[in-house]
């Protein structure tokens, strides 16, 4: 029996009348690489944002390592307009903020890179270490935490070394080439010491060669940091090669799931990606 690290239960995210994620249930097990795919606008990033606490779901619950981290039910004005399923199933309300969820051990990257642009690569990673620092602001101001500060800096250098960014550590983040910015974002996420890494389109804007390298890179960091990886991706080659399991979303609904070969041959997935031929003659 594999150990579940992340479990989404009946997650529905409704913005006004638009149901972006509809009754999504999925599970990510320890040390797996799981992909979430789907056409544009299928609600993949919304699902990520719900997991990381950017949005509170309209209904449903999320469990991290079998502990509930998020749970909600339609209330207020949402009560009237709610069109999703499982209304009334959930009664507890728990909305963790993104920083609390990161503290639990869930780190993420962003679809459109969100680095601290004016700061150096080194500082970008160092900032992510702040969350785990024990010093309060007074001891930090008076330099009483110099031991902790030194370990933070050493760990940061180590991390940059592993990700091959040592030679650009003093460059401004915005001046780095695109591929390195992606790596730096992953380095920053890893600096928070996560158990689960959410990658939002890590291969976006990369050429085939870089995509190949990314596969090896993801395997590499998974074994080095004992990670579970949950990612959104559009490059099918990458997804099919790397994923242990795949979930497919279309218009917010889960239409298929399973091992890559099974998903690849699923008629509904093919329809969703290629569009269904509407036969008027029949």
């Amino acid at each position: 029996m594999p150990n579940s690290i992340l479990r989404l239960e009946d997650i529905t995210m409704q913005f006004g009348g638009v149901v972006a994620v509809d009754n999504l249930s999925l599970e990510v097990n320890q040390n797996e690489i799981v992909s979430l795919i789907g056409p544009n606008g299928a609600g993949k990033t919304t699902a990520f944002n719900v997991v990381t606490g950017v949005y509170a779901p309209s209904n449903g619950a999320i469990y991290f390592k079998d502990n509930m981290i998020t749970s909600n039910y339609p209330k207020g004005s949402m009560k009237k307009s709610y069109v999703g399923q499982n209304n009334g199933k959930y009664t507890t309300r728990m909305e963790k903020k993104p920083d609390q969820i990161t503290k639990l051990g869930v780190a993420r990257t962003f679809q459109n890179i969100r680095l601290f642009k004016d700061l150096t690569a080194f500082e970008n990673v160092l900032i992510a270490k702040h969350m785990r620092a024990k010093a309060n602001f007074l001891s930090a101001t008076l330099c009483l935490n110099h031991k902790e500060e030194r370990t933070m800096r050493e760990e940061t250098l180590e991390l940059l070394d592993i990700l091959g960014l040592t030679n650009v550590k003093d460059e401004k983040a915005s001046s780095l080439p695109y591929g390195q910015q992606r790596h730096l974002e992953i380095a920053r996420a890893l600096a928070t010491k996560p158990e689960l890494l959410l990658l939002d389109e890590p291969a976006a804007g990369m050429n085939p060669q870089e995509t190949d390298e990314l596969t090896a890179f993801i395997y590499d960091i998974r074994s080095k940091f004992n990670l579970t990886v949950f990612m959104i991706e559009h490059h099918m080659d990458l997804v099919m090669e790397i994923s242990d399991r795949i979930y497919v979303l279309d218009f917010g609904k889960l239409i298929a799931s399973g091992i890559p070969e099974k998903v690849q041959n699923n008629q509904r997935v093919i329809d969703a990606y290629l569009g269904v031929q509407e036969d008027d003659e029949e």
Binding site: V54, K103, M152
Partner: protein, 378 residues
């Protein structure tokens, strides 16, 4: 450049500044203008750095500085008005018994506490400002950019209105203000207090908390995803910034010796904002340099524009009271046009940079010289 070398240079620089201050202190009578202007510059430097901490490093566009300064100033003033003259100060509405009791208590404390009174007063003033900042920060810090600016600006005006309200006449002396406040013992004291305040803020900015502030400035969403609690850190920055604003308000009270609510009107906040923008939003050294430069040029170097000037029998036009501010505004315009991100941008002063510039300068001279030499040979 080696670290030991940098330390040596820094010590030399500090020694030069100290020597200069001792010289000023000794020749107070001859250099009255420089003395006054530099004192004021040092005080404004503290509040400019505190505003920079909030605006430049945390990205919270707050315009409440004058309000926090007012709180610090009034508390410091009440502490430091000598007991025997307090009745003269409050001659219109009388003194509140609370203040009389408080002054009596202060006078009954041992001598060393009384000797430390100015410092205690400044710290208490700062703490009061910080407490108020913590309270109003809870609702106000949910706002972003311009909305936050308007809210804090409004708050600062509310503080001023409350201080000048007739109900508080026996405590704040209403619109008459407080007078006869004990001043600084010397310019060195002012500079040491200012230096300590600025050093503390610099240390905070360089610590892990300062980095978290910068992360919030750069990208709130990403900062939150990196586990930085937005509210906690914004509140922390706002409260600490307000603490030092309060301290500098107290220093301003000690410098001016008499304060009233008009001192802390919105225009004071704008003066500070001007200093921060000219110095560079996000640069501590920029704020310090610009505080001194702006104060010195506004109050001293440009003074001659205010007096009629005769060259022979010809009276130069426009030279009259108020013309100084016109020239000052033009200079500001030019500075902002040429240094769009302030004098220092987001950079800090460093010996390395000076060293690099010096090497480049030497290289330039050498190149010129060799070129000149070859020209001669022809």
């Amino acid at each position: 450049m080696k670290n030991s070398k940098k330390v040596t240079y820094s010590i030399i620089l500090a020694a030069i500044i100290l020597a200069f201050l001792f010289f000023l202190e000794a020749n107070k009578a001859n250099y009255g203008m420089a003395y006054t202007v530099l004192t004021k510059g040092a005080i404004l430097a503290v509040v400019a750095v505190s505003m920079n901490l909030v605006t430049g490093f945390t990205g919270l566009f707050s315009l409440g500085q004058a309000g926090f300064m007012a709180i610090g100033a009034y508390i410091t003033a009440i502490f430091l008005i000598p007991t025997d003259t307090i009745q003269d100060v409050y001659y219109i509405s009388g003194v509140s018994p609370a203040i009389i009791n408080f002054k009596g208590f202060l006078d009954s404390t041992p001598g060393w506490i009384q000797a430390l009174a100015p410092y205690i007063a400044l710290i208490v003033g700062g703490l009061a400002a910080a407490l108020l900042a913590a309270l109003i920060g809870i609702p106000v810090l949910r706002l972003k950019s311009d909305y936050l600016a308007i809210a804090t600006l409004g708050f600062s005006e509310i503080v001023r209105a409350i201080i000048s309200s007739p109900q508080l006449d026996t405590i704040t002396n209403g619109s008459y203000g407080l007078k006869k406040i004990q001043g600084f013992s010397s310019i060195i004291q002012t500079f040491v207090i200012a230096g300590v305040c600025i050093t503390l803020m610099v240390l905070l900015i360089r610590s892990t908390y300062g980095r978290a502030f910068k992360a919030i400035r750069e990208d709130e969403t990403a900062a939150e995803a990196m586990g930085i609690n937005l509210f906690k850190h914004k509140e922390l920055s706002f409260v600490i910034g307000s603490f030092f604003s309060g301290v500098s308000g107290g220093m301003l009270a000690m410098f001016m010796r008499s304060i009233d609510t008009k001192t802390f009107s919105v225009s004071l906040t704008y003066d500070i904002l001007l200093i921060v923008v000219i110095g560079g939003i996000g640069s501590v050294t920029g704020s310090v340099i610009s505080a001194l430069l702006v104060t010195v040029s506004k109050e001293w170097w440009l003074r001659f524009f205010d007096n009629p000037l005769y060259i022979g029998n010809f009276q130069v036009p426009f030279f009259r009271t108020g013309f100084r501010m016109v020239v000052f505004s033009i200079i500001l315009l030019v500075v902002v046009l040429f240094y769009q991100r302030g004098i220092m941008g987001k950079n800090e002063f460093s010996w390395d940079k000076i060293g690099n510039n010096f090497t480049r300068f030497k290289g330039f001279i050498a190149k010129k010289a060799s070129k000149g030499g070859s020209d001669h040979a022809k």
